[in-house]
Amino acid sequence: MTDFPWLTTLVLVPAVGALVVLALGRTAARSRVREMALAISLVEVGVLFGALTQFDTGQSQVHQLAETHAWIPQLGTSWALGADGVSMLLVALAVGLVPLVIGAAWRENLPTDGSKGLGHTGTYLVLILLLEAFMVTVFVARDVFLFYVVFEAMLIPVYFMIGGFGTGAQRRFAAVKFLIFSLAGGLIMLAAVIALYVNGPGGERGFLIDELTGYLAQNPMGTSTERLIFLGFFIAFAIKAPIVPVHTWLPDAAQAAPAGTSALLVGVLDKVGTFGMLALCLPLFPTASVWAAPVIVVLAVVSIIYGALLAIGQSDLMRLIAYTSVSHFGFIVLGIFSFTSLSISGSSLYMLNHGISTGALFLLAGFLIARHPERSQRIADYGGLQKVAPVLAGTFLVAGLSALSLPGLSTFVSEIMVLLGTFATSRSAALFAVVAVVLAALYVLMTYQRVFTGKVPDELAATPDLSGRERWVVAPLLAGLVILGVYPAPALDMVREPAQTTMTAIGVVDAAPADDLATAGEGSDS
């Protein structure tokens, strides 16, 4: 079974599934679209486990399960897939979140418009499955062109998911803003992609990342060329991630989008930005990365603090979660560009943990808002819910505590790794970043206090607690947070070796104190 194209299967199952749902949605089976979509997403989880059994964790720095087929040889691009430990974790995150999002949308009364055929919910599910196919592809693409194509194409389903299914008058504006911001970055990246090919080995396989890194190591580009191309890539990823000052689309999008969309968007999709920095920027442009690192570290620290401060000031629950993510993305970027093996592996792990944590937060916030008679997102409209809906309050608290990186939850492990790793190379950046830990406690606990304690407003007095379905949706996420918090070793195994490879690629050696801290950090983790 080693030759079985696991990764292509992972891409094809949701893609074909989306088409099947689309086709069946026009027949009598229409009333069963939710079951069909859920079944497809669960089959995908099964395929993922199959792929994981074939994945050699001991060799997690190698891109395994590799497949390479010519796609458009005239343009030098191939259908090349392969997954290292980091890719595998992110694929697992995406594949794992999708059934939960489908489950969360089960009874969601998406605004109906009396349309015939597939219906609103059906279209939404088709878009989710389509997005899943794109998400898997982008994390395992080993060809720059393929990566770019998916990077851009995945905007379209998200655009429809925000604009067509969101709430509030701002959803159109938010959808267009999201698309324009992303495409502005993406098209700049297009120029960089072309320039990369022109400066690369060329030929029919000239876009393969492995060929490019090998070639560029032998034939380095000119300094300014490399820097410009690096910037083209980095700007696109920075918008996607997003870090200050190009983050403004995210709060708008999160506020307008349905909770499930936000969970996928912030939890998985935005990771493409940080993943791109890690998997493309550093190996392809090592010199330019080192050159730009000081500025990027500053931007990351600004994101960390600014995002946290703004989160404290928000009155809209969804916007608040979005701003906490801006802060967390700052941590991930900080870890990547601090260039220690500890911080890079911490950032890789952070991507997974943040996906789980934010996914849980968004989904729970969605459940909360659905309980309000007017679906209000204003925090001030809630209060005292822990008396009437204790399970909702408890799960929300756990998810919230994971956002402030409470020890014992998985986010703590990654955050401490990033901070310790950064401390070794940039003491001041780490010190500033630590401030955000305090701020995080503020925004999480204050929100919990305002929503779940105090006096219950009259219209919320009869609020039902989490239903069985909703508990099933949240349980895997909370379990993930706790299990990976107590026993992070399996995930750490997946990210440690790739981080070493990245360090070798950029030609940086851990500073001496970092080694001590690394062993100290890992010791306390496991």
């Binding site: 458009i72 418009d113 349309s115 851009e152 098209l187 120029a191 072309i194 022109v198």
Partner: protein, 574 residues
């Protein structure tokens, strides 16, 4: 200089595609004269379709031989049949078939052309003609003549022949533009404007040819090139340069590049929609074919003799490309008319194609030209042509209808509230069934909520817009990619960067329409406009929409075969 007349030997086989098209056109004129009015339309359709099909077959048959020999000069050297010429002809013919489908479309019960073009708009005579159901079928031969002219335009290096071809392709277009059945005054204005400006541009072209003849004593590009290569004093002087630039200006007018674009929005808006589609797709292909040939033949030699001149030439194209991209994208933003918006979009795409044309200049090796530039131009023309034809085809299916005052209230009741129940929806349709179908609903506000009213048409139109915007997995993306790649590979990096930035602007106005389709309900827009009826997709226009949509996806996902073909086309007769 004067010699006895030498009878040229004519190689009929290689001339077959052009003869098939023009011959069918002549036959069409005879049909017009002799076939009874009743069956005239059908016969015209058959003749036109057979003409184009025969020409396409001839191109396919000729392709391997010409590919091997590298091309021949025929008809006394005035017509070239080389891989590049055949490729342009093939693109023209394929796009011509779609245009023909639109010309023939009668989904609304009528075709797009005036029953009596000579009648004064609004006159009693016109009413009479309409009442009697008079149909004009001259549009078909006019289409063929124009198509024939386009094919020659890209297949000659003789500047006089090029001028003749230019006129042959333009004159029918002037007439066709004025033939609209609806909004005839607007259409006649468009035709007149196009004619005046077109005649002016032709004059500039012709004057340029005269100047080049003055400089080099020849009107053939090959001889002009030799004259430059020999370093004749006049040939590398200002006279040739001025002449060359005037010739290029004449062509740039036809492709609708800024600052020679002012006719484009008006004519695209006023002309009958099938004609707008034909112009957008085919005229552009033919004129770019001629432009590429001139650049490829003249520029490298010019570069050897005088790098400054070649550079000046390149800079001029840079400026035109940048202006086209800026004007096309920025002015498209405030447009409210679909056809006018597509007009500005056409200007912008001219700019994007020009990036690929600039990519023909090889800064590293000034002696040659870049195959990437040829590949990108041809692929772009095809991808753009398919997307834009599909978009115009979709426009022909969205029609205005009348609504008597009573009916208006019914429609209003059905649209009220966010949850229009099924019953209200059907009742509304019933009412509209009995109302007549009028002209196209080109105001964007009338398209609001199309995604719900007719999901497939809205999906297809969105796909065309996404392709025009250059989103991956559509043909437009690969086209834009190859174009910018040609630019960057030849050193025009900043031009490509400007192209990328203007693409972002372009995304904005394309996506605005998608917002209108899916995220806007009709009652949110002002109701000053006539109500809209969407026609079924069963007719030729519907077929065009479907086939073009399939082609857009195919070109985006599996472009390899087409890229191979257009790469082989980068061969020119010396």
């Amino acid at each position: 200089m004067t010699t006895d007349f030498i009878e040229p030997t004519i190689d009929w086989a290689h001339l077959a595609p052009i003869i098939a098209v023009l011959g069918a056109g002549v036959l069409g004129v005879l049909v017009e004269a002799f076939v009874p009015a009743r069956s005239r339309r059908v016969v015209q359709l058959v003749v036109t379709a057979l003409g184009i099909a025969a020409a396409l077959t001839a191109v396919v048959v000729l392709w391997p031989g010409v590919q091997e020999s590298g091309g021949v000069r025929i008809v006394g050297g005035t017509v070239l049949v080389d891989p590049f010429a055949l490729a342009v002809q093939a693109i023209l013919l394929v796009l011509g078939i779609f245009s023909l489908l639109l010309f023939a479309d009668r989904s609304s019960g009528d075709d797009a052309f005036a029953p009596a073009a000579a009648a004064v708009p609004g006159s009693a005579y016109e009413d009479l003609a309409r009442a009697q159901g008079v149909r004009q079928t001259e549009a078909f031969p006019l289409l063929l003549f124009s198509l024939g002219g386009m094919m020659i335009f890209a297949s000659t290096s003789n500047l006089l022949m090029m001028f003749v071809a230019l006129e042959v392709l333009s004159l029918p277009l002037y007439v066709l533009s004025a033939l609209a059945r609806r909004r005839r005054l607007l259409s006649q204005e468009a035709g007149f404007k196009y004619f005046l400006l077109g005649a002016f541009a032709s004059a500039i072209f012709l004057f340029g040819v005269a100047l080049m003849y003055g400089a080099t004593a020849s009107v053939d590009l090959a001889e002009i090139r030799m004259s430059i290569a020999r370093g004749d004093e006049t040939a590398v002087g200002g006279l040739l340069m001025v002449g060359l630039i005037m010739v290029i200006v004449g062509i740039l007018f036809k492709v609708g590049a800024a600052p020679f674009h002012v006719w484009v929005p008006d004519v695209y808006q006023g002309a009958p929609t099938p004609v707008s589609a034909f112009m957008a797709a085919c005229t552009k292909a033919a004129a770019f074919g001629a432009l590429v040939r001139i650049v490829v033949v003249v520029a490298p030699t010019l570069g050897i003799q005088s790098a400054a001149l070649a550079q000046g030439f390149e800079v001029a194209l840079w400026i035109v490309a940048i202006l086209s991209m800026l004007v096309g994208t920025l002015v498209a933003i405030p447009q409210t008319d679909m056809k006018r918006m597509l007009g500005y979009s056409a200007i912008a795409h001219t700019g994007f194609i020009l990036v690929g044309v600039v990519g023909l200049f090889l800064s590293a090796d000034i002696r040659g030209f870049s195959g990437l530039g040829v590949r990108s131009t041809l692929f772009y023309l095809l991808a753009y042509g398919v997307a834009t034809l599909g978009a115009f085809a979709a426009i022909t299916l969205v029609r205005e209808t009348t609504a008597a005052p009573v009916l208006t209230t019914t429609a209003g009741a059905g649209a009220e509230g966010g949850t229009a129940e099924l019953g209200g929806e059907e009742r509304k349709e019933d009412v509209r069934e009995s109302t007549p179908i009028l002209g196209e609903a080109t105001h964007m506000a009338q398209w609001a909520g199309l995604g719900r009213r007719s999901p497939w048409l809205a999906a297809a139109y969105s796909l065309f817009l996404l392709s025009l915007a250059g989103i991956p997995l559509t043909g437009g993306f690969i086209a834009k990619y190859t174009s910018f790649q040609a630019g960057i590979a030849s050193g025009a990096t900043w031009l490509a960067v400007i192209g990328v930035l203007t693409s972002v602007v372009a995304v904005f106005f394309y996506v605005r329409i998608i917002v209108l389709f899916y995220f806007t309900t009709p009652d949110e827009e002002s109701t000053d406009h006539a109500p809209v009826k969407v026609l079924g997709m069963g007719g030729p226009a519907g077929v065009t929409v479907v086939v073009c949509a399939a082609a857009v996806i195919f070109l985006g996902v599996f472009p390899s075969p087409v890229l191979d073909l257009v790469a082989q086309a980068a061969k020119f007769v010396p």
